[in-house]
């Protein structure tokens, strides 16, 4: 399928989802779907570095929080529309992603993972001590109940939902495009064997910097509307463990080698979490993630997508 065809399909699906949600018009549906879509973006962004290149990033929460706090800063400094905030979040997180990549990519495996975790801790400490964006007290973001777009008046939560839906589609499109391009092949060689990649002429350092920048930028974009969604942002919610753990668990459960994996994982795990939050308690969230991660690592180490691919391959052979 060509990229144009794929983007058209995405747009149609996006429009359909938007229309259905608008017809149902239940605030909770927008709230829950927003969270799931946000995880689709985070999982896809994580997968660009973690799945394609094989570099495990434990610092997703830091990039997400950077996007969120860029918005808080702009809210106080010079309020702009949320789509612009998303771009600002992308630039800030992208730059930090590039810097992190430059400083840490000579590290491999668990050392790289620990360095990303350290980045999250350092950034959280900075934010906690920065009064302008609320420090440890947190910051309130107050917006109108409705937003006027042209002559339409849209409920704010529906507006946020639509933005996150659009971002999720852009992220999926980007991931799929990378996967099928020269860049995607280069990323895969980094995951497989960096020494052999260099010997084949792949500029590994440059590709890794592209991956950390892109991955960071998408995470920042996912975080940018968050203060408007939640209304009150404090460091412990922006840097929450949920984001780091979910961004890793969702691609792992879905499958890391293809763009479908993070999507499947995020929808599955995200919905399960939303369901558990309503029916049991919000504290069960991480328990579900943990249990599913353990189960999948044992039953399907290559994720759901990997499981299906293996089944298909086995059937073809017989």
């Amino acid at each position: 399928m060509s990229a144009t065809k794929f983007s058209l399909i995405l747009i149609v699906i996006g429009a359909a989802l938007l229309l259905i949600a608008h017809e149902i018009n239940v605030d909770y549906l927008f709230f829950a779907s927003y969270t799931i879509l946000q995880f689709v973006v985070l999982a896809t962004a994580w997968n660009i570095l973690g799945g394609y290149c094989g570099y495990v990033n434990f610092g997703s929460a830091a990039f997400f929080a950077l996007g969120a706090y860029s918005s808080v800063f702009m809210y106080k400094f010079f309020p702009v529309p949320i789509p612009v905030l998303m771009l600002i979040g992308a630039v800030v997180s992208g730059i930090v992603g590039f810097g992190m990549g430059y400083l840490t990519l000579r590290l491999r495996g668990s050392f790289f993972a620990i360095a990303t975790l350290a980045l999250a801790v350092v950034l959280q400490t900075l934010i906690v001590n920065w009064d302008y964006v609320g420090g440890s007290r947190g910051a309130y973001i107050i917006h109108d109940e409705n937003i006027e777009i042209g002559s339409f008046s849209v409920h704010y939560i529906e507006y946020l939902f639509a933005l996150m839906l659009a971002l999720a589609l852009v992220a999926l499109f980007t991931a799929r495009t990378i996967e099928r391009s020269q860049l995607g092949f280069g990323f895969a060689t980094i995951r497989d064997d960096e020494l052999a990649a260099e010997a084949s002429g792949v500029p590994t350092l440059r590709l890794k910097l592209i991956a950390t920048t892109l991955s960071g930028a998408f995470m920042g974009m996912a975080g940018a509307p968050f203060p408007y969604y939640i209304g009150y942002l404090q460091p412990s919610s922006a840097f929450a463990l949920d984001y780091a753990v979910n961004s890793i668990a969702m691609p792992m459960i879905g499958g890391t080698t293809s763009w479908i994996g993070p999507l499947v994982g995020a929808v599955l795990l995200g919905s399960a979490q939303q369901y558990a939050t309503v029916t049991i308690s919000s504290a069960v969230n991480l328990l579900i993630v943990g249990l599913m991660l353990v189960a999948f690592v044992i039953i399907a180490p290559n994720g759901l997508v990997g499981l299906v691919q293996e089944r298909l391959r086995a059937r073809r052979k017989t």
């Binding site: 020269q182 092949f185 280069g186 895969a188 060689t189 995951r191 497989d192 064997d193 020494l195 052999a196 990649a197 260099e198 010997a199 084949s200 002429g201 792949v202 500029p203 590994t204 350092l205 080698t257």
Partner: protein, 244 residues
């Protein structure tokens, strides 16, 4: 004729251990050079310094008239240096054809601009697999290969970059007699196409039948360099291999 590869007095240490101690070496275009030496004599370190996997501390490496010092490994590959690894290092998540696609995409493209269409790429991959006799397995993964096929894949991937110089680092270790013949024939065929080859090997019969010239490394120093028949009779070489 001027040398294709000119290694000038390079040294490399690992902590207190001197792995290479002032090695100089010249390779002429089209030549078949054998490089031998006991285990730990610095052969692989020399290859790594030439190819940019390691950076030498002193001395310099010139290739095709230009210095390579300070260049990263992939830049040297772009200049026309290719190597195969001692232990095969295929891209294990990719099919054989895709393994060869990487140097085509990243080296041949970088050198000549994106000339190749998708169809050209496919046919070039098929051609290379044909050359090493793996055409039937193009869609399989490297884990399905035997040891000798893995070595052939390694050589094919090095060849895909269309190098001027190929360094084959122990590409025959652990193979049977007939398999060695296979690889030797392949290397000779490549040499006939004009590719200069440095063969690093322990199997003496293979080295002797292949090399036009032989260089010997012992504890990071080059102790002999010349015609293979003369070198193996050199008393220093005999002492290094057989002891006093």
């Amino acid at each position: 004729m001027t040398a294709l590869l000119h290694v000038d007095n390079i040294s490399k240490r690992f902590g207190g251990f001197v792995a290479l101690d002032g090695i100089s070496l010249e390779v002429r275009p089209g030549e078949r050079l054998g490089l031998i030496g006991p285990n730990g004599s610095g052969k692989s370190t020399l290859v790594n310094c030439i190819c940019g996997t390691l950076q030498n501390e002193s001395g310099s490496v010139q290739f095709d008239g230009k210095p390579l010092d300070g260049l990263a490994a992939h830049q040297r590959t772009h200049r026309g240096l290719a190597r195969s690894f001692q232990l095969p290092r295929p891209f294990h998540s990719m099919s054989l054809a895709d393994n060869l696609r990487i140097p085509l995409l990243y080296t041949v493209h970088a050198r000549m601009g994106p000339l190749r269409s998708a169809g050209d790429l496919d046919s070039r991959c098929a051609e290379l697999l044909q050359m090493v006799g793996l055409a039937k397995k193009a869609k399989q993964l490297p884990r399905d290969l035997t040891q000798v096929e893995m070595r052939k894949l390694e050589l094919a991937r090095a060849m895909a970059a269309e190098p001027k110089l190929l360094i084959a680092d122990e590409s025959m270790a652990g193979l049977s007699h007939s398999e060695i013949e296979d690889i030797l024939a392949l290397l000779k065929q490549l040499n006939e196409r004009g590719i200069t080859i440095i063969l690093i090997e322990h199997i003496m019969s293979a080295v002797m039948s292949f090399s036009q010239r032989l260089a010997v490394l012992v504890s990071g120093k080059k102790i002999a360099d010349g015609k293979p028949e003369d070198v193996v009779r050199n008393p220093e070489v005999v002492r290094a291999y057989l002891g006093q």
